[in-house]
Subunit: 205 residues, 2 copies
DNA sequence: CGCATTTGTGTACGCGTGTACACAAAAGTT
DNA sequence: AACTTTTGTGTACACGCGTACACAAATGCG
């Protein structure tokens, strides 16, 4: 069975890839047209409706794909952790690798948090919160292991994520060299947050 | 003289206001049409060209307006500084005031950093860098005054700006209550950065 | 096989778009 | 007062858009 199901999945994927292919610094998802995406995917405009209700529906699918990719990166970063010097170095390196590999997905996730429909924005925020929560747990566990607890793990993780994603968003339109500089500065900034959070957790103060 | 010049400036301003009025969470600047803006401003479509070359030109004007507003807020924050407890509290409060007062301008500046033409993005980045540089100077001066120097003032200021603007971007789609919570967390996070930066500047370490 | 379902095509529609052109009314200039 | 310049209008065009409808080809199922 499922020569048909397979093919359907395939052209669905083609539509997703087509949309991603059209996204770059100049173009936001909101400016893509249904016909444009269908054309890019080699389909008649009407065939689009066999796979998605409308462009918003496609957009939600894209957020989903991007979110899965992000979570994969997190896992990779944790695996590398054992062999690397610090969580921070490993995480930043993994993230920047991912960005270099699939910039369009990040473009979506980072740069269109503020546009689009309500459900669209909520989906993106959910993905990022997911990311933040897992980092918060990591930080807390790590702090206990090191006997150096941190202050308000969620706020700390949130700050780190904000810095990292903000930086990553800027990295999208940079040369490889500038990216390396940015990554180095990011590491410093994350260290500041880490140290500051530890300091704020110290008794007395 | 200049009954004409005045009137021209006036309708130009009308076009700018019309564009801002059309911007909200759902609508990005890139999705506005020339006709739409002209309509909102009570003008025939063609009259648009008497004031701007095209929509991109209008966009650059908007960035300019937003940037001026931002710098004004900075100055206000510095003036309040003397009467307030900390730079951080004062700055965050001033910024959030401004956001509540003119959300559309911030929507533009914060949420469309990553879309639009090259010149558009560069203009926005320039405005933010301006902001960051002035903060860096403040931090350095303050550190010397307190005998508590900070580490790499620019990187520190950059981290603070990233956090603040990231938070401010999220605040745009929040209720007043949530905003207050967010502002409180922001203050904590900025303190972390401050403390961490001071720690990193400590000799030996 | 024969019929039903699914996936995709072609045509057609009404609409909003950017913008070109010709023109009107007002303001500035001499 | 006679002119030029500036600001805005009205009409018109070709285009891309979303989507409705009728139909073709392939696949799945009895």
């Amino acid at each position: 069975m499922s020569s048909r199901t397979d093919k359907k999945q395939q052209t669905r994927q083609n539509l997703i890839d087509a949309a991603l292919g059209l996204l770059n610094q100049q173009r936001s998802f909101g400016s893509l047209s249904l016909r444009e995406v269908a054309r890019e995917a080699g389909l008649a405009p009407n065939a689009f409706y066999r796979h998605f209700d409308d462009m918003e529906d496609l957009g939600l699918a894209l957020v989903d794909v991007a979110g899965q990719g992000l979570r994969t990166v997190m896992r990779e970063a944790r695996q590398k952790l054992a062999h690397s010097q610090s969580v921070i170095d490993a995480s930043v390196a993994a993230l920047f690798d991912h960005i270099a590999r699939e910039p369009q997905l990040f473009h979506m996730l980072l740069r269109e948090q503020g546009s689009g429909s309500e459900s669209w924005r909520r989906a993106i925020r959910t993905e990022i919160r997911y990311f933040t929560n897992e980092l918060a747990e990591d930080l807390e566990r790590l702090g206990q292991a090191k006997q150096r607890p941190i202050f308000d793990p969620y706020a700390t993780a949130d700050a780190m994520v904000a810095i990292t994603f903000g930086g990553a968003g800027n990295a999208l339109s940079m040369t490889a060299d500038s990216r390396a500089e940015l990554a180095a500065r990011l590491v410093q900034q994350l260290r500041m947050i880490m140290l500051g959070s530890e300091r704020m957790a110290e008794p007395k103060a």
